[in-house]
Each structure stands twice: as structure tokens, then as C-alpha cells.
Amino acid sequence: MIVAERLSWVLKLRRGHKLNMEVFFQQFSNGLAIGGIYALIALGYTMVYGVLRLINFAHGDLFTSGAFLGYTFLVSLALGQSAGTVGAILLVVLLVMGVAAFLGYVLERCAYRPLRRSNRLNAVVSAIGASIVIQNSIMLIYGPQVLVFPAGMKPNVIVEIFGLNFPLMRFFLFGASVMLMLGLYFFINRTRLGTAIRAVAIDQDASRLMGIDVSQIISLMFMIGAALGGAAGVMVGVYYGQITFTMGWIYGLKAFTAAIMGGIGNIPGAMLGGMLLGMVESMAAAYISAGWKDAITFLVLIVILICRPTGLLGERVAEKI
């Protein structure tokens, strides 16, 4: 039945019926915004995985805590009244990044550093434990209900491009995530600390011999990842307008999917994977089925892993024996 509908839809296109370009461009801009958010979260996963070979299951919950901290700063502290909407959001993003970085540091210190030398299965389970702890701390502090960002907090400007109306927020979010990613890219590739990070990712023991404090670098990577995740949390809060304490699971899962799609451990790969995933999801929701969009995302992931297990940008590495 549904298949028949789709087929007739495709046939209409073939016969040259007017293609509804509005839907396409709306979904495209939506995909840009979501993809930017996924890419930001994926960076945190990929950086940690690149060094520790650990899936940081708690990263999605750091993202959630970013969203809730953003809510606190915007609503409870009423930063919106004092600084104007756009300025307030920028300020809040910066504040949240700072606090999230601190949370990331604490997380690494308590849950991961003691396990650095042990079995990887243990580290994964410890990460799940950390995720439960963060999730429930958020629930204990803010309560289990859905929090809604007040409508006035959301700059609801519509821009017209070639006769189509888009919410400005999408481009704002996309721009913000691109800025953050560019910042990270220059930090990793052009600074002394960035060089140290790359060195640790390649070989921890050799870096230690070169006088790099590996533990400090790992802490730094957790802080950067958490800060980016926290910023993504604020963005999701402002974009969708409502947040719950459990939302980190699914965003984290998708962002990790994005990281693997791009090639795990590869920073440009995470950016590419995030954008791609956002786009796939957005298009799948419009053209295939909104209910199936998450399933399609995971299906794409499985296909990529079977056909190209190292991801799109990942290099083929021989298994260490």
C-alpha cells in the first residue's frame, strides 16, 4: 500500500509534474542544522575513541547536561532580559561550554582514569554506569518532566531566500557549529597543544618519552569534547524548544553513528559523518517515513560498517597482532 503510494509519487516526478522544491530545501536546511549538532557531539566521541579506544557512553549525557545548564542560564538566571536574545544565547553557549568542560574533566577523573589499564569491556560498563549517574543527577535536580524553553527565548526570525521562507535559526545553528569545528580544527593542527593531542592519539608511550604529559592531554580531550557536546545541547534546546533528561541516549547513539560513518578517530571524518547523518535523517523523514527515520539511520550505519568498516575517511589499518 505505502509502497504503491511511493511508486506513484516517483512516477509523477518522472512525468514532469512540478517537483515540490520547497519541501526539499526546507529539509535540506533542517539537515544542515541537525547535522551540525550531530557533528559537534560526534567530535567528542571520536577524539576520546582515537586515544583510549573507548566508547564514551556518558558523552550523550554530558550533552543533555549542556542543554539543562543552558536552560538554567537562560531562564532561571534571566540572562535573556539583560543581554538581548542573540547576545544572550552566545553568552550562554560560552558559559555552558565552560561548565561542561569541567564536568568532562570530573567524569574522566572518576570513571575512566582508574580503568585506563584494564579490560575494554570494563571501561565500557563503567561508561554506562557514569551515564546512569549523570542522567539521574539531572533528573534529581530538574525533575523528570519535559522542560520547555520559553517562547520569547527563541529568536523566531524568518528569512526569505529566492522566494522560500526559512527560519533564520537553522543557518545560525549551522554557522555556529561550523565556527566551533573550524576552531577545533585550527587548534588541533596549528597549536603546540594540538600537536601534542595528535601525538598522543598516534602513540601514547612514544609521546610520554617525548615529554608529553599523556594524562593531562587525555583530560584536555575530554574537556574539549564535553564543551562541544554541551554547546550542542544548548543548540538543541533552542532549536526544538524542549528537553528531557533521557534525550542524551538517542542523540549520543546517533552522534556515535556519525563518528563511525566518518571514520572513528578522524576529526574531519566526524564533521563529515555528522552532516551526512543529519541530511540522511532529515530527507528520510520527509521522503520515506518519519516513524522509520531512526531505523534508516541505523541501517545506513550497518551497511557502511559491513562494506567499509573503517568509515568514509578512515584509513585501512592492519590489525595489531
Binding site: N122, V124, V125, S126, A130, V133, A295, L305, P309
Partner: protein, 329 residues
């Protein structure tokens, strides 16, 4: 004699609850039993074969829905659908695991998470018009054994813990069989196992299918206990809980897994009064346990094999030194 004492004691203690417990606690024990059996079947994959598999709820779901559909649409008695549910889950595992079996640890973990999500979404979206969407399927019969209708918590207690007992016995034999030893070898060093001629992909697939078969049968018990089934039973979170049971209790050790089931499923019930804090403490406890007891509460020990005896058997009967000649070929 002394070695057999603790298991006998545990078995004896497990006979008591239907006589002394309230229905509420019997239900808690039943839930523990169900997750224990599921964890035993997951242990085969995670503990014995060392594969990171976090999507076990998907296999249980396939079994549960097989039973639900066959019972409501065709009127097949619930317990007769049990082997079919197992086979459906096993076949499903064969289909999905075949292409992914070669993936390395974390990748496999992620793919299995993806599978459990896809299955849940497919069930919610009423795939093939059979699964009833988000509401699921209601009105499933109670099981009968020789005309005896099983419906009270105490009845289910016997059914579930009976199956748990059978599972423990069978799986502990499996653990020491050629199959189980091959899985352990693969877990310790996949490459070396390949090197001595163990077809690791086939053995891993076998572990997956067998684990899924068992999980599918548990699905039957689950739906007959609830008399309805819905996608909400089989979330990613349920899979995570099973995974934590296995690792926390002691991967590869059936006693440890049983203990894990009691702690992970049972303790949150015992601390129901501390509603808010209990999950928080649970998470913290998981982290602390992983730091201080990396092998789980009861770590698995290497098997106890009588190597000298084995070598003697390998060499055949000892040659008689006085005859002066060796009759062996």
C-alpha cells in the same frame, strides 16, 4: 560432597519462596528469573565467546512476538510455540549476525545496538501489519501443562525457575564441551584460535544463534506471564541491563551471572522506597565495581583440565619395556 553443598543449599532456598513470600515478592523473583535466563543466554555470547553484544532484547522480542502472533491468530497453545519462538529468534540471529560476525569489538557493539533499535522501531511501526504497532498484542492465553493452567505468580515461579535450573545445567555442560572450549579460546585470542584450525566465524555464529534461540524461548515465557506484549518491553535499555548483569556478575561464570541477575534486577526493587536516589547509587556502584573488581563479582577461572591424563590417552597404552618392541603403528 562438600563441593556439592552450596549448590544444593541454593536450590533448597529457591524452593522456599512460594511457601513464604507475598505475591509482590514472587513477582520480583519471577522478574529476576527471567532476566537470569536471558543473561545466561547472553553470557554464551559475551562471556564465553567474548563478543560485545548489546542487542539481546531484539532476539527476545522476535520470540515473544512469534508466540503472541501464533497464539492470537492461530490459537496455538502457548507452550507449543516455545520451540518455534526459539527457532524464529535463532533464524533471525543467523540472518543478521552472518554479515556482521567479523566486526571487531566496538563496531559489533554498535551494530547490535542498531539492530535492537531497528527491531523496536519496526515493531512500533506495525511491520507487515502483524505486530499491532505501539500498543502491541493483547489477549495471549495462559500456558497449560498437562491441563494445569498456569496463572498465579507461584505457578510462574515454578515454570521460570524450573527453566532457569535446566538452563544452568545445560549451559554448564556446554561450557565444558568442545564447543564451549572453542569459544573460550576465541575469546582469549581470536587469531591464535584461527591458527590452530578453529573456524572462529562459524563458532561465533553458532554462539549467536544458540543464545538467540534461548532468548526467543524466554520471550514466550515473558508474554505468557504478562498476557500482552508491546515494543516497550524490548528497548535498548533492557539490552544494556542484561549486558551489565553479565559483566557485573562475572562474564563467563554462570554462578556470577546468577548473582548479577539478583543484584541488578532485585536490588532496585528492594530499595523502591528511595525512588530518586536508587538509580543514581546503582550507576555509582557499577563504576566502583568495575574499578575494584574488574572481573565481576565472581570472576570466571580458567577451566580445570587434567592435562596429564589427556596426554596419556593421546600417547596410547604404555609400551611394555620387557617385550622390547613397540606394537604401536
Amino acid at each position: 560432597m562438600i563441593k556439592a553443598l552450596p549448590p544444593a543449599l541454593v536450590a533448597f532456598l529457591l524452593l522456599l519462596p512460594p511457601l513464604v513470600c507475598s505475591n509482590y515478592w514472587l513477582d520480583v523473583l519471577n522478574a529476576i528469573g527471567v532476566s537470569a535466563i536471558l543473561a545466561f543466554s547472553l553470557n554464551l555470547i559475551v562471556g564465553q565467546a567474548g563478543m560485545f553484544h548489546m542487542g539481546h532484547a531484539a532476539f527476545c522480542a522476535v520470540g515473544a512476538y512469534t508466540t503472541a502472533i501464533m497464539n492470537t491468530a492461530l490459537g496455538t497453545p502457548v507452550l507449543w510455540t516455545m520451540p518455534l519462538a526459539g527457532m524464529a529468534a535463532g533464524f533471525f540471529a543467523l540472518l543478521v549476525a552472518r554479515p556482521i560476525i567479523h566486526l571487531r569489538g566496538d563496531y559489533l557493539l554498535l551494530v547490535t545496538i542498531g539492530i535492537v533499535e531497528i527491531v523496536r522501531i519496526a515493531l512500533t511501526q506495525d511491520i507487515f501489519g502483524l505486530t499491532g504497532g505501539a500498543n502491541g498484542i493483547a489477549g495471549i492465553d495462559r500456558p497449560y501443562i498437562f491441563g494445569f493452567r498456569i496463572y498465579k505468580p507461584s505457578h510462574f515461579y515454578w515454570l521460570i525457575w524450573g527453566m532457569a535450573g535446566v538452563t544452568i545445567v545445560l549451559f554448564s555442560y556446554l561450557e565444558r564441551s568442545r564447543f564451549g572450549r572453542a569459544l573460550n579460546y576465541i575469546r582469549e585470542d581470536n587469531l591464535a584460535a584461527d591458527g590452530i584450525g578453529i573456524n572462529s566465524a562459524a563458532y561465533k555464529l553458532g554462539a549467536f544463534v544458540l543464545g538467540a534461540f534461548w532468548a526467543g524461548m524466554v520471550g514466550t515465557i515473558l508474554v505468557s506471564k504478562m498476557t500482552f506484549v508491546s515494543p516497550a518491553f524490548f528497548t535498548f535499555w533492557e539490552s544494556v541491563v542484561l549486558f551489565v548483569i553479565v559483566i557485573l556478575g562475572g562474564a563467563g561464570n554462570l554462578k556470577g551471572v546468577l548473582l548479577g541477575a539478583f543484584l541488578v534486577t532485585g536490588l532496585p526493587e528492594a530499595f523502591r522506597d528511595f525512588e530518586g536516589m536508587r538509580m543514581f547509587c546503582y550507576g555509582a556502584a557499577v563504576i566502583l565495581l568495575m574499578i575494584f573488581r574488574p572481573g565481576g563479582l565472581l570472576p570466571s577461572r580458567p577451566g580445570d583440565y587434567n592435562v596429564a591424563e589427556f596426554m596419556k590417552k593421546l600417547a596410547g597404552p604404555a609400551p611394555n619395556p620387557r617385550s622390547g618392541e613397540d606394537k604401536r603403528p
